[in-house]
Structure formats: structure tokens, C-alpha cells
Amino acid sequence: MAAIELQNVYKIFGRRNKEALKMVQAGVSKADVLAKTGCVVALDDVNLSIGASQISVIMGLSGSGKSTLVRHINRLIEPTSGKILYNGEDIMQLTPSGLRKFRMHHSSMVFQSFGLFPHRTVLQNASYGHIVRGTKKAEAEAIGKKWIDAVGLKGYENKYPSELSGGMKQRVGLARALAADTDIILMDEAFSALDPLIRAEMQDQLIDLQRNLAKTIVFITHDLDEALRIGSKISILKDGQVVQTGLPDDILRNPANDYVARFVERRVHIPAQAGVSK
């Protein structure tokens, strides 16, 4: 079952975006739209269904619109046109307070440069999701503590983010998202800022956690190896368009076009099958 569905989503940045939208829908190329209206087309007719309880990876190079795309799911960025459905319900129809409730209870997020609150301790960061929704402090911190332990940061509860290494910071980011107890977790290049060893460790940890938790995870990356390693399903984004969606094996065996094929060819080694199969 699809937990999240994006239907005909367009996102155009710029003042004259309505005008630009019509041009894009009429088939005018992005370069011409930019030249005529000064608007940048970030997402171009994206249709995507994201399955519940699995890791869906959206892969693309920088500028492909992947970070913009993931921010549409919790409406940190509003689409210029299109529908975003969560369990069949159109989240574009939510009122501001409805949207806040949706974010509190259904979607949390992990950021590329961590997005931790520098003035709060590890524990306060991890329990933030519950503090925001008004859970009692003791209870919120008990939950935060549990997830700090789960990501392997026991003993660091009272440290500040500036006292941690990059890998540890992202563990706090992960603990914060998990502690919020939402069914969706959006991960925007969550491991891209980490060095390769820590990164592999974090990927393993994510796969491990996912085995028990069965969250709906949308994982953004620019790294095909990472995508193949953790993804149950992979969508490849280029210039704001989804060029291929499929199982990791499909992508490897039947690249939809030259662009995808080039990605696959440049891979140095075959991925560990354990991470791929689901």
C-alpha cells in the first residue's frame, strides 16, 4: 500500500511562477522558461507513490530537485501545483494547525547538516518532538533517553551538539526523528556529510532499526551505492523529473535510459545483497 502519493507535482521558484507553470505544462523547455520568465523549474510533473513500512530512496545529483521534493511531503515547501496524499488524504487541504498536527504525529525529518538545536542538550534535542506537542517533560525525556540509548549514545545525554563529532550529531538527529514516534521519517542526505566508514556504520544501523520499526522512510541521496544498499525501492530524479522507479535490481539490470545507465556503469563494485533484498 502506498503511504504517500505525489500526483502531478510541479514546483517553480520565481515571482512569475503561475505563468511559468502554464508554459511548462504546455511543453516549453526549462531553459526557455528561465529565459522568458526568470523562473526556475525545480519539479516537473512528479508522480510518485511511496510504499508504507519500507525505505524508499530518491536519488539524484545536486540540482535535480531531490531536497525540494522531500520537503513537499511535510510541506516545508509548497508545490506550485499538484496533489500530495497521505494515506489517501490530501495534505494540501490541511489548515495551518492541521498541518502542525500532521508534522507532529506523522512525519519527522533528518537533515544533511543535522539541524540540531545548538542551545539544547542531546537529551533535549532528542525529546524535542514530544516537547513541541506538549508531552510532560519527564515523560518526553524518558522517551528521548530510550532513543539515545538505541542509537548508541548512552552517556552523552547532557552534552551539547558542539561537543559531538559529525557521526554522533547525526545519531542525535536520527534519535530525534525516531523519538517523535511518527510513521514517516524523511531523511534528506542524512549521511552525506559523514566520512565513508561512519556512513557505512550509520547505514547498517538504519537497516537494523528499520527491521524492527517498519517506518515509512523516504531517503534522499546522491550516491547510488547508498541507494542500492538501503533502498527497497529507488526513484531516480533528473532535472526535476522522475526518470525511473524500480527495485534496486531493476535499476541495475534494466536502466530506463542513458542517464541511469551511466550511473550504473560507474559503479565500481556489486552491492552487498543483504542490504538490497527485502
Binding site: N74, L76, K101, H105, F117, P118, G129, V132, Y160, S162
Partner: protein, 281 residues
């Protein structure tokens, strides 16, 4: 010669406007005036009721809490001692009371205004040029109407001090809030925070070091208004500077000047220390 036919004057309409304000809102201005005056008198009363060593100890304790070392408290203690030994204790306390009152009101006005400037583009476009005017307009230009509205003495002095001193606080509050890492704000949003939770739980706490730098600037600029304030009847160190100048008593003027510098150093170091202790990177 510039053609006479193109000249116009705004002085008459402004005179009429001030006259209208005095006639129609005299009561309101008197109420504001009384409010500020009673606040100021209370601060002064406390400062004068405290024994001199009590005041010095409080300052040293505050300094210690701000920087957590012994150097600054000792410096603060020694400087205040010196002010007392120069026979400037009462005058220094009067000036300090004026400073504290002006700073308090500056904070009450400046920080919310700074937030507004950071959040609302229209407010930014309107207020930033106004702040420039407040800082460059010669203070006597607004002192005279202030005296007409509030009477001679401490209240117009406080107001003039605020007008001159508050712009850096507004600017730096706004800067501090706009400088907060966008990803951190995004993270707060993504977990469902309301704009109030973001302002008070994320943006303001992270802007504190910058806001304190603004407060420091505000206090420093306020101190430079001390002598001007005395010209309209506020007592304190400025008054002695004036007396010194008027009687060609260079020594007396310089003594009072030293008092102002002492106050400046003490307040500057304490607020700077506070700002640095809040920085966490």
C-alpha cells in the same frame, strides 16, 4: 540662486503639530512622564539606600556571574572604589539610575521591534531609515519638543537617551534572528513547532549573543548622552562636567569625565562578558 518659487518650509506645520499634541494629549504625556519618573526614582532610591560597599559587592557578583573569573570582578570593584574616592559616588549613582532606566525601556521597546523588523519586510523597509535618522539627527532637535511635551528634567533626558541609544539594539536583534541557521528553523518546523515556539524556543535563544552585543552598544551610546542630558536638567556626572566647563574648572570637569569613563568601562565589560558567556559554538 535657488529659485524662491520652489522653496517650501515644513517648520510651521510641525510647530502646529507639536502645539496640537500639547493641547490635546497633555494628559497622556503627563502620564507617560510620571510613569518614567517614578520608575527612575525607584531605581535611584534603591541605589542610594544601599551602602556603598553593598553596591560594589553587587556589581562584583554580577561581573563574576557573567564571566566566571576573578579578574573582571576585581577590576569592577577597583574602578567603582576609585569613583567613590574621587567624591563622585552620588553623581555616579544618579547617572547609573538614568542609564538603567533608559536601558530597561530600550530593551522593552528595542527587542520586540527588532523581532518585527526581522520578520516583516514592510517594517524593515520603514524602520531601518528611521533608525538612521534617529542616530544622525542632532539630539537638540528632538530635545526641545521633548521638553515641551514632558517638561524639564529627567524624563526628556531618558527619552533622548533612548532615541539615541536604541537603534543598535533593534538592528542587532533583527540581525541575530535573521542569522539563525535556516536548517535549524526548518528542523523546528518539521517537528510541528508553532511560530511562537520557534521564536521563543529557537530563534531568540540563538540570537542572544547578538542581542547582547546590541545591548552593549545601546549602553555605550546612552552614556555618550550623559552630558547632553544634564543640559536639560538631569543631574549626575554630566552636570558636574557642565559646571566644570562653565567655571573653567578643568580639573573638576575631568574628574567627572573620569567618572563617566569608569561607568562606561564597568557596564561595557560586564555586558560583553555576558555576551561571550552565552556563545556556544
Amino acid at each position: 540662486m535657488f529659485p524662491k518659487s520652489l522653496e517650501f518650509s515644513i517648520s510651521q506645520p510641525i510647530n502646529d503639530f507639536v502645539a496640537f499634541l500639547i493641547e490635546s494629549y497633555g494628559e497622556t504625556f503627563r502620564a507617560i512622564s510620571n510613569f518614567i519618573l517614578s520608575g527612575l526614582l525607584q531605581i535611584e532610591w534603591v541605589l542610594r539606600a544601599l551602602p556603598w560597599w553593598g553596591t560594589i559587592l553587587i556589581f562584583m557578583a554580577v561581573a563574576y556571574l557573567c564571566v566566571r573569573n576573578y579578574k573582571l570582578p576585581l577590576l569592577v570593584g577597583a574602578l567603582l572604589m576609585l569613583a567613590g574616592m574621587l567624591g563622585l559616588w552620588d553623581l555616579t549613582m544618579q547617572t547609573l539610575a538614568l542609564m538603567l532606566m533608559a536601558t530597561l525601556i530600550s530593551c522593552l521597546v528595542g527587542i520586540p521591534t527588532g523581532v518585527l523588523v526581522a520578520k516583516v519586510r514592510v517594517m524593515r523597509n520603514i524602520l531601518i531609515p528611521m533608525l538612521d535618522i534617529m542616530q544622525t539627527m542632532p539630539s537638540f532637535v528632538y530635545l526641545i519638543p521633548a521638553i515641551m511635551l514632558f517638561g524639564l528634567g529627567k524624563v526628556p533626558a531618558v527619552l533622548a537617551t533612548i532615541i539615541y541609544g536604541v537603534p543598535p539594539l533593534i538592528r542587532l536583534t533583527s540581525l541575530g534572528i535573521r542569522q539563525v541557521d535556516q536548517e535549524v528553523v526548518e528542523a523546528a518546523l518539521a517537528f510541528g513547532s508553532s511560530s511562537r515556539q520557534i521564536l521563543f524556543g529557537v530563534e531568540l535563544p540563538l540570537a542572544v549573543p547578538t542581542i547582547l552585543a546590541g545591548l552593549n552598544q545601546t549602553i555605550m551610546m546612552s552614556l555618550s548622552m550623559v552630558v547632553v542630558s544634564s543640559m536639560i536638567g538631569a543631574r549626575g556626572l554630566g552636570q558636574q562636567v557642565l559646571e566644570g566647563i562653565q567655571t573653567l574648572d578643568v580639573g573638576k570637569g575631568l574628574e567627572a569625565g573620569v567618572g563617566i569613563v569608569i561607568l562606561a568601562v564597568v557596564l561595557d565589560r560586564i555586558t560583553q562578558g555576558l555576551g561571550q558567556s552565552q556563545r556556544r559554538d
